[in-house]
Structure formats: structure tokens, C-alpha cells
């Protein structure tokens, strides 16, 4: 078992957002999370990543059988958790190359490895750029600064490829992508998929799930997972809308 969330409650500024989430992700699985705006999808992602503006008031999160909630954000990242941001942040003056080199080496240090040499690192960058079909000099530019919406998302997938996480949470990585970019992002994910890692893909569109075939689809509604099923659930949602879910509650 990779991730086990039990009865997770989390709030921000006294307002409860997550109201008892239960979710199990095993190695090799892809889970899709869908649900209306403002129901707590990004909050769930942030809480798993350890963002401290959210208070966990109840529940448990185990990752590789370890209590995740006691670890800092960077420790979780170094343990192999990656979050593809819904709204990637700009860091002016810091090139992606430099940013990734710092990240890769911090993670290596945590794992008791020596820093990666410049040559080896650049080679790895080239490989991963190919994987997400980045041909431009995007990686010489400052992190997300002046990037188009699609470039920002592609950059998130590139970073995921660089860091080779065990658990990747992709928060609406498909939003704002044109058809070609969507295919590229999905291909990237599929190539990185192994029997050893897991993905949680947050999306509003069934379309993405044509490319990344999920093992499970969950519907998050008002802070709870109210329905789970196979990939056909996504089709059904697309067809019937969220009112259908509401009626069932």
C-alpha cells in the first residue's frame, strides 16, 4: 500500500474543508478525482503535500506505512511525493535548470547520495525534456515567469519526470492545455507509470482519462468522497453532470 488516508478532516481559518476523506492508493494504480469547483480537491492535494496553512483536525495519512502528517513539506517531497500544481508559481531570476538541480541534489542528499555532476544532470535534463517534448529553451528561462498556461503545465510534468516520484498528485494538469499538449502530458504520465508508483489525477474532464486510463475514479463533493468506481464512472459523470450525484445523496 502506497497511500492510505483514513477519516481525514482539515480546515483553514476555522472553516472545515475536508470532512472525512478515505482513500487508498496502491502501487501501480492511477486514481482520478473529480468533483465540482470548491469541493476540496486542491485542498486534499495540499494537505497530502503538507502545506501548513491547513490544519488537520482529525484522521490519519499513511505513506509507505509511515505517518505522513509528522513530516515537513520538503521531507514528504524527498520521500517521493510530487504535487503538480493547479497554479504553478513564478520564481523570477531562477532558471528551471538551477531550480531542478537544487531540487534533485537536495533529494539525493536526503537519500544519502552524492550530488549529481553537471554533465550527468544535463544529460538527464535532455532525456526528460524529450519525454515531455520540450524542444525550446524553456529550461533556461526563469521558473514559470511569463510562461503561457500550457507551458506552465508542461513544466510541471517535466519536473515530475526529473524527480521520479513514487506518488504523484496532478492537480488539473490538463486544464488550459490544447489537444496536442494534452496528449504530450498524458504520454509523459504513461511513460513514467510503473508497478512501483502511484498517481492521483485531479481533473474536470473525462477527456484526459481517455489518455490516462485510471483504475479508479472518485467523486469529491463537499469535502467527502461520495462515490467511487471504475473509469466508466467518469463517462457517467460527463453525461449526467453533478446533479446526478447530488440527487443520490
Amino acid at each position: 500500500m502506497l497511500l492510505k488516508i483514513t477519516n481525514l478532516h482539515a480546515s483553514i481559518k476555522g472553516k472545515e474543508i475536508l470532512k472525512g476523506i478515505n482513500l487508498v492508493v496502491n502501487k501501480g494504480e492511477v486514481h482520478a478525482i473529480m468533483g465540482p469547483n470548491g469541493t476540496g480537491k486542491s485542498t486534499l492535494a495540499s494537505v497530502i503535500a503538507g502545506r501548513d496553512v491547513f490544519d488537520v483536525t482529525e484522521g490519519e495519512v499513511l505513506y509507505n506505512a509511515k505517518n505522513l502528517l509528522t513530516l515537513s513539506v520538503e521531507e514528504r517531497a524527498r520521500e517521493g511525493i510530487f504535487l503538480g500544481f493547479q497554479y504553478p508559481v513564478e520564481i523570477p531570476g531562477v532558471s528551471i535548470t538551477n531550480f531542478m538541480r537544487t531540487a534533485v541534489n537536495e533529494i539525493r542528499k536526503y537519500r544519502g547520495l552524492d550530488p549529481m555532476g553537471a554533465g550527468e544532470f544535463l544529460k538527464m535534463m535532455e532525456e526528460k525534456k524529450k519525454l515531455v517534448e520540450i524542444t525550446s529553451n524553456l529550461t533556461n528561462r526563469s521558473v514559470n515567469e511569463g510562461f503561457s498556461g500550457g507551458e506552465k503545465k508542461r513544466n510541471e510534468i517535466f519536473q515530475m519526470a526529473m524527480l521520479e516520484p513514487t506518488l504523484a498528485i496532478l492537480d488539473e494538469t490538463d486544464s488550459g492545455l490544447d489537444i496536442d499538449a494534452l496528449r504530450v502530458v498524458a504520454n509523459g504520465v504513461n511513460k513514467l507509470r510503473t508497478s512501483e508508483n502511484g498517481f492521483v489525477v485531479i481533473t474536470h474532464y473525462q477527456r484526459l482519462l481517455d489518455y490516462i486510463i485510471p483504475d479508479f475514479v472518485h467523486v469529491l463533493f463537499e469535502g467527502r468522497i461520495v462515490k467511487s468506481g471504475g473509469k466508466e464512472l467518469a463517462m457517467e459523470l460527463e453525461e449526467k453532470g453533478y446533479d446526478w450525484i447530488k440527487q443520490q445523496l
Partner: protein
Amino acid sequence: MGSDSNNIIDAYTSGEYKYGFHTDIETEYAPIGLNEDTVRYISAQKNEPAFLLEYRLKAYRHWLTMKMPTWPHLEIPPIDYQGIIYYAAPKKKKELSSLDEVDPELLETFNKLGISLEEQKKLSGVAVDAVIDSVSVKTTFSETLAKHGIIFCSFSEAVKNHPDLVKQYMGSVVPYTDNFFAALNSAVFSDGSFCFIPKGVRCPVELSTYFRINAANTGQFERTLILAEEGSYVSYMEGCTAPQRDKNQLHAAVVEIVAMKDAQVKYSTVQNWYPGDKNGKGGIYNFVTKRGICKGSNSKISWTQVETGSAITWKYPSCILLGDNSVGEFYSVAVTNNYQQADTGTKMLHLGRNTKSTIISKGISAGRSNNSYRGLVRISKNAVNSRNYSQCDSLLLGDKCGAHTFPYIQTENKSSIVEHEATTSKISEDQLFYCQQRGIDTESAVGLIVNGYAKEVLKQLPMEFAVEAQKLLSISLEGSVG
């Protein structure tokens, strides 16, 4: 940067370095306090020619009529000018027998800066076995310079060997009447650097005080004079990134640069004097007057500074743009943390036609520090078609620090354009979270973000300086967030 310079730096840094190339001179101090006798004593100790003693005395007498400036945005504790020893003859530093005897905190900082073991020993005064004789390194260096007719020596040596140049130019850019600290320096300066680049010569190496003979003893009242003859070029580096401690609290240096027609001078500084402890105890007061004159047409002077040290910094590297089409540049990163105070900036005085100046200032404040940019851009009536672009950014870490901007703009003609932009920003929680989520801890994240912020300035530094300066920025801000 030329290959000569690379060779020398290689030789210098990869090999071991023999500490202490001064002959053993018995230490002699001037009596405590300042009066005409002190000034005469200093001049006599250095066997100076009459004109220099005369100059010092005039400066001293003028200083008596002056008061410390009160306009900076600084809280300066009272300074007892009669409680200072103004001159100590060069003294051999006490040699320690191994690094074990060195302050561990200092060693930790050296390690973070990536300074080699041998270099660490040198900087902390540990005796080092000689593998490469330091004298031979210096000789290679001097020979390279001599071949081009470049003079690079201590100020005292220049007084001895090139008195005419000193007499002609000393005080020509920063007269002793300029300000309180310049007057004080002119009266009691101990030593410093002198540099002369002949006509048409492009200095093939970065000139660094690091290589200069007797560099260890520049003292608290340093004096530098750089003369760039027609069509010449020189890049000059001052200071070092390793933390520098000094028992003297008051430092008042003067730097003068003269650039003739078509000459270019690039002056880079990394200042990392002891800033005091976390509670604001101790630390150096750094009151510096730096000014260059673009005397000939098409000349150019660039100041680049990275200021991380000192308890109090008062410093405005400036350019007088006298020659037509001359260019002045000022690139600055000033970091203040804990209780540090900095009031720094520049003056660009446009006198010639078509003169251009650029000011890029990046202030970074953390802790309970205060960081001010103060700049003057004056475009005189005759400086037609001149341009200035100023950009002054402040970055705040935490909410107990202060950032202030005092831009003064005076334009006396209509054909010139002055642009001023200013921003204030904070490191956002979103940026930190983004970095942390990639496995980067808070301190490294702050270092990364701050270096990105300062990039425009850092890229102006010579390569080997830039890498160290980057590390220095991160280290200076440790513990300032989270």
C-alpha cells in the same frame, strides 16, 4: 577574462599558499587619539614627501570644522574619535598551528562558502607549509602586469615610486572637503591600492586586492586610486566573501577613479565585514566614499557591489559624467539582516552631452534591519540628450524590517530623459511552498529566491566572484524566514 589570469588563479588556488610574506616588523602604534601630531606621526612613519603631509594636515584642519552627516536614515551611536588608534605599523599576524584553534563558527562559514582548506588556513591565519612559493605566484602576476606597463601596488609604494601621479590625482575626484569621512580618511589614511593602466592597454587579468602585496594590512582608513589612461580597460575587484573580522570598529575608505577618453573601468566589490551578532552587538561601521570621473569622451565607469556585511553601511559609489557620451553604471545588492543598517545608493552627475547612466539597486531586508536606497541623478544644463534609467527594488523578509527609497532627480534640460522605477515585494508563502514541495528546504529556498531576485546585479560580477557572492547571499539570510 584572459588566460593569464586563469593560470595565475589556478596556480594560486590549487596550490598551497605560504602565509605571511611580510618581513617581521616590530609593531608600532600611534598614540591614541587624533591631533596634528598624530597626522605628522603617520606621515613620518611612512616617510612621506612634504606635499602629502601638507595635504593630510589641510584635511585634518578641515575635518575639525565638520560634523558627521545626520541626513542618512541610520542610527549611528556616538563615535569617540579621540578613543581610536589611528595608525599601527604593519604587524605579523599571530600564526595558529592548526585549524583546530580557529573559531568553529568561522570554519563552518568557510565550508558553506566552499573555500578550500588551504584557503581557509590562510584566511584564518594558520601557518601553511609551502609547496608553491607565494613569492613566485606574485612574481608571475607582477611580470604579467609589467609586460603591459600596468602599475598595481600599494598606495604607499605609489607615493614612493610615482609621487607625481599621486600628487596630480589624489583628491581630484573626492576632495578632502567632500564630506566628514573623506576628510578624516584624507588626514589619517594608512594604506590602500594604486592602479595605473597605460594608454590603449587592456588589462589582461582581473586586478584583485587579493594579489596585491601587503594586502593584509590595508587597515581601517583605506585609500584607493585607479587611473585609466586613454583607451584602456581594467576590471578591479575589491574585498572577499569570507567573513572579515577586525578589531577596529570604524572604517572610512576613499576610492577615486579617473577614466580618460575611451577608457573603461569596472569596479566590483563584495563587502562582508562582521555585521555584529544576532542582537546587534558589535559589528563594523563602514563609511565609504567612492567616486569616479569619466573625464574623457566615451569613457565608462561601472560600479557593482554586493553588500552583506557591516553593522552600519554608508556608501554611495558615484560617477561624474564629464566627457561627452560617457557612461556610468551602478549595480547593487545590499542585504541587511538582524539589526544591520544600510544607507546606500549612488550619484550620477551628468555634465557632458549624450551621457548615459543606469542604476539597478536591489535591497533585501530581513530581521529587524533597515535598508535604504538613496540616489541622486542630476542632469545639468549642458548635458543635452542624456539619459538615466533607475530601478530600485526592495525585497522584504518578515515584517519587522524596513526598506526605504530616497530618489532625488534634478533635470536642467529638456532633451534628456530620466526614468525611475521602484518596487517592493515579499517572498510569498506560495513561492516557498512550491520550492519545498520540490524537496528544497526553507533556507535553500530563500537563498534560491533571493539569488534570482538579485540576478541582474550578480551577473555583472566577474565569474569567480559571482559564484561566491551567490553563496554569500544565502548564508547572510540564514534563519531569517520560518
